[in-house]
């Protein structure tokens, strides 16, 4: 897919993920023991053969920049193309944008010079809330075959849960041509439109200009809904495993899904690896008295206590007599002896002191913010 460049919107739902996005944007939330959410999309793009990726940032993106660095872990530190971070900036008469994009089209307008300068023929736009391991080459083939203007990725299923209220749903004819785009409809919530789309670069440029000159900003309303008749918009079904992170509870569930072997096989395919920042940790050490069941454990941990149905990130220490169940424990946390955790999400560097007991509920896991000491 050398003719395609990727553009990622690295921010979304900061409201619903509150504690987890206090210190970062959604794209750099730690996930699955050693990853950040963005790793899945970045690796998927790289594994598809895309060599030029721009990341549109809004605010709190220091953690994201620290994570991706020069992009070398994704093979994106290159002479030609590679990884570009596109932070907001003010210029001339559009001073009012600041970091407060009203919609995707406004964010894209801000990166117009980057898009113009690129010599890619197609652009793959995507939100960063996706946990998946897929390649986009078939989708591009489909896009070319249909001679489509815009191809939207969708997932088929039942999405009645209110966490999908912010999403679009597609209605399509037999040929997969989109006939209607509805945001949060009351019924027909079958074809969930993921924020991933392929579009010809020249068309994207003119759409951006069009929106800008009419003070329009929403990709969904002002591009998709407004042009559903005039443009050839197609839907392409995503058949790979995929999860969307829309709230604390969906974040929790998506992590816990990794305890399922089939999900792991789908996500961590040895031919299409998920890359992430390397920490040069030592192997994890199990001491006598440790008891672990149905859990994912990253490197650099020292396990002396009990862990069940949990995700343990790099460098975590679980001391004697501590019991961690149904929890997500992020990097460098320390769970001291005889404490008990159930349905807890502990952000990085949290310390649980001796004999503390914390219990959340499956739908409402207790979230401890980065660095807190209980």
């Amino acid at each position: 897919m050398l003719d395609t460049m990727g553009l990622i919107f690295t921010y979304k739902y900061e409201e619903d993920l509150k504690t987890l996005t206090q210190v970062r944007s959604i794209s750099s939330i730690p996930f699955g023991g050693r990853y950040r959410i963005i790793d899945f999309l970045l690796s998927s793009m790289v594994n598809s053969g895309i060599t030029k990726i721009g990341m549109i940032t809004k605010n709190n993106y220091q953690s994201l920049m620290d994570h991706v660095g020069s992009g070398k872990e994704w093979d994106l530190s290159r002479k030609r193309d590679g990884l570009y971070i596109l932070p907001p900036f003010s210029h001339g008469d559009s001073f009012n944008y600041g970091a407060n994009y009203r919609g995707r089209m406004e964010a894209l307008a801000n990166t117009m010079s980057f898009i113009r300068r690129s010599n890619s023929e197609y652009v793959l736009l995507s939100d960063a809330d996706i946990i998946c391991n897929m390649t986009f080459d078939k989708m591009l083939e489909f896009h070319k075959e249909k001679d489509a203007d815009i191809t939207l990725l969708y997932k088929n299923g039942r999405f009645t849960d209110e966490s999908y209220n912010q999403f679009c749903f597609l209605a399509m004819d037999k040929d997969h041509r989109v006939t209607d785009v509805a945001i949060n409809p009351a019924k027909d919530r079958k074809n969930l439109c993921i924020g991933t789309a392929i579009i010809r670069k020249s068309l994207l440029e003119s759409l951006i200009q069009e929106c800008q000159s009419h003070n329009l900003y929403s990709f969904r309303r002002d591009v998709l809904q407004a042009n559903v008749k005039d443009l050839k918009i197609y839907g392409y079904e995503c058949k790979a495993y995929m999860d969307l992170i829309t709230s604390v509870s969906s974040y929790f569930d998506a992590n816990m899904d990794l305890l399922n072997e089939d999900v792991r096989k789908g996500l961590f395919d040895s031919q299409n690896q998920i890359f992430t920042k390397i920490r040069d940790e030592v192997p994890s050490v199990y001491r006598n008295g440790s008891k672990v069941s149905n859990s994912l454990i990253a490197d650099g941990c020292i396990i002396e206590g009990t862990v069940e149905n949990s995700i343990i990130f790099r460098g975590v220490r679980i001391r004697k007599g501590a019991v961690v169940s149904n929890s997500i424990i992020m990097q460098d946390c320390e769970i001291q002896s005889s404490s008990q955790l159930n349905y807890v999400i502990a952000d990085k560097d949290v310390v649980i002191r001796e004999n503390r007991k914390l219990f959340g509920y499956q739908k409402y896991p207790t979230v401890l913010s980065k660095g807190s000491v209980v």
Partner: protein
Amino acid sequence: MKIKKECIAMLLAGGQGSRLGVLTKNVAKPAVPFGGKYRIIDFPLSNCVNSGIDTVGVLTQYMPLDLNAYIGNGQPWDLDRNYGGVSILPPYVHGKNGEWYKGTANAIYQNIHFIEQYDPEYVVILSGDHIYKMDYNKMLQYHKAHEAACTIAVLNVSLEEASRFGIMNTDENNKIYEFEEKPKEPKSTKASMGIYIFTWNKLREYLTRDEADPTSSNDFGKNIIPQMLGDGEVMMAYEFNDYWKDVGTIESLWEANMELIGEDSPIKLADPSWRIYARNPNEQPHYVAEGAEIKDSIVTEGTSIYGSVEHSVLFHGCRIGKGAIVRDSVIMPDAVIEDNAVVQYAIVGQEAVIGQEASVGAPKETCESGAIAVVGDGVSIGKGIQIAAGEMVGENRE
């Protein structure tokens, strides 16, 4: 333009390591996996970088492909540099002929041009078969302070062990006056660790002289060091008092792996001030299933455990099947222990497969010391097959 480096390192990585048997059938000894996520060569390479040496020549000869691929451009060790960094140095043809490296000294002699590119004052000579953490810069400062021609790192061993090593006999100031290779009646317990720092001018002179002598076996221990001593050069012993382990035999390789387990592990791998770097296999966190049991072990990313593991070292990408038992063993990358197989007091090579209900080795308590069963890289052991304690298997068994 020459960019001058005060000190560079030359790492001798061409040895076969024949005492490791099937484990070095396809790879050079320095590329043998160690400690869950490392290879032996990670230790000297990381020591170099942590000591501030950013130019390392790696001399390869035996089965270099795996090692070359592993080292790559040196990026995992921060050895991808504008000037210097890591260079792989195989033997090559020069003029009308060329030859293999005839000995350790000859290997360095053949690379005099490489060394002179950096115009160094000092050269550190290292080997790729030891597990240790050492600050070569401290040793270099010692070498400089004593204005030595050569400084040799030594370890105090017990008197019984001393006859297995090259022994340095020194005066009270640690100046070496005699060198004895594996003495029957050792006069000292200062064993050479195979780590030398030479003042480059001196070394070049002795290498050239040694090369001109057709009777020489072109070896540092046998020829260069005795020759320098005989000529009265200043040669110092540098005492090292931390963990150091030669992993040249199956038993010592097994032991060194096991020494990483437990609270009082003598080599502080996790010490962040002296990290050991390795090329990362990029695998997901390891998975421990319901019903699995892990005691007193170390485990790395990419591994799934469904059975029971006790006092063992599991590398990345392994699978321990349901009902399988792994005890007192080292399981190298991507090896599979199928359901209900039993592996005891053994080393299982990379990508080896131990079939269902097969059994490798015997309980350690019942074995003679050192009777470690070894299954070579990529070897597959069929369903129900028994491999006895101490047996070394290099071919598939059906």
